[in-house]
């Protein structure tokens, strides 16, 4: 292993592991890219570092100057990644976090000294975004990186995640990842399609809208601006919903091959299995699944050891994307 000067240098260049033994179709090889290996524990470390460095280049953040404040809405992982980067660089971070995230996400934010502003759990991430937008408007002196509209988010995946996949698995046929801000799919997906237009990009989502009962109407729905500005609906080939029970079954299967991954990885694996099941006769596939984070932040959910029905019911009201 090389010697590194900073924890921030450990962000990116994550390992890709073959898990084809979990594929029910022998024509489909399965690979998992372990983003949980990043120092803050998720794929969002890449986005956090890229957005902060971008703001530093643009001059809206000034390294070394005391008293600078950042504000960000996050269901957890972006907040945690930013908290890590801000702690190292000396910025103060305020994270608008829905109440309905796992307790470990809150604890990790506290590890790196982020200030938590709670938004109503029943409004999900949409509520956190709305509250952060109002706070940013009231406090123009705070730096609002806004991952959902910040081009540095997909760019981090276009310049790093995509090329890493292409380097490690040049015969990739499908990319499967969770859809949150859409940054991973837009960035890595576009890079891979530019290398090989036949690569299929599949998005997986949780059925979050079923439990976001704080929304007053569908007009309170939310589509990340980067998704619309960068032509997300043209880039994606398929978008599929995976329910909590199936996500939990898949994180257990991953544990059988020594991979301890978060619930959204279980959902992405379920998506990959659907993809493998739909291959045509004689079609060979190499499916790369992005594992957004490790299992550590979900231990309190009982995902690996609890009664699967009880865990699935609890997961229905927890945000894990």
């Amino acid at each position: 292993m090389a010697l590194h000067r900073s924890s921030l240098d450990l962000i990116g260049d994550t390992p890709l592991v073959e898990v084809s033994e979990l594929s029910s179709n022998p024509a489909a090889r399965l690979f998992v890219k372990l983003e949980g290996q990043n120092p803050g524990g998720s794929v969002k470390d890449r986005v956090a570092l890229a957005m902060v460095e971008d703001a530093e280049k643009a001059g809206s953040l000034r390294p070394g100057e005391p008293g600078q404040v950042l504000l960000e809405p996050s269901s957890g992982n972006t907040g945690i990644g930013l908290a890590l980067v801000c702690r190292v660089k000396g910025y103060h971070l305020k994270v608008v976090l829905p109440e309905s995230v796992s307790p470990e996400r809150r604890q990790l934010l506290e590890v790196w000294g982020a200030e938590i502003i709670e938004s109503p759990g029943a409004e999900g991430s949409n509520g956190a975004v709305r509250m952060a937008q109002a706070l940013a408007a009231a406090h123009p002196e705070w730096v609002f990186l806004y991952q959902y509209a910040n081009p540095a988010n997909p760019r981090a995946h276009y310049s790093q995640t995509g090329p890493e996949i292409w380097r490690d698995c040049p015969d990739v046929t499908h990319l499967v990842a969770g859809l949150g801000t859409s940054g991973t799919l837009l960035g890595a997906g576009r890079y891979l399609k530019e290398r090989n237009p036949a690569v299929q990009v599949w998005a997986v989502e949780p059925p979050a809208g079923e439990v976001v009962d704080g929304l007053r109407s569908l007009d309170e729905g939310y589509i990340p601006p980067i998704f619309e500005e960068l032509g997300g609906s043209e880039l994606l080939d398929r978008k599929t919903v995976v329910r909590p029970r199936e996500s939990i079954e898949w994180v257990r299967r991953l544990a059988d091959v020594g991979i301890f991954a978060g619930l959204s990885t279980g959902a992405a694996m379920a998506g990959a299995a659907r993809c493998a099941a739909q291959l045509g006769d004689g079609e060979q596939a190499a499916i790369v699944v992005i594992s957004a984070d490790g299992g550590w932040k979900y231990l309190s959910s009982g995902a690996w050891t609890g009664d699967v029905d009880e865990v699935a019911e609890r997961a229905r009201s927890t945000i894990y994307f």
Binding site: S74, E220, K239, V241
Partner: protein, 93 residues
């Protein structure tokens, strides 16, 4: 040919359907499903379809968990036993 299709409604649309979480409509395409819903529950008008008949941007419609925007959109066929779900567009991250 129109078949009976179960439609799962999100919490936000249930008040317009008398509190039901699942309703059954007769339809042969997703477009039919949505038009049937609006005709049976006029409170959903404007929430599912735009005035020009296209799909409202903040509603995601799934057939057996696949988003119809990436299938054949409103022309996506439905068959006996399919389950259709409606979900509001929700962010993550």
């Amino acid at each position: 040919m129109a078949v009976a299709v179960d439609v799962r409604l999100p919490t936000v649309l249930r008040p317009q359907a008398g509190g039901q979480s699942t309703v059954t409509v007769k339809a042969s395409t997703i477009g039919d499903v949505l038009r049937e819903l609006v005709s049976e529950f006029p409170g959903m008008s404007g929430q599912l379809l735009n005035e020009d008949g296209s799909l409202h941007r903040f509603v995601n419609v799934y057939v057996n968990d696949d988003d119809v925007r990436y299938l054949e959109s409103l022309d996506t066929p439905v068959k006996e036993g399919d389950e259709v779900s409606l979900l509001p567009a929700v962010a993550g991250g």
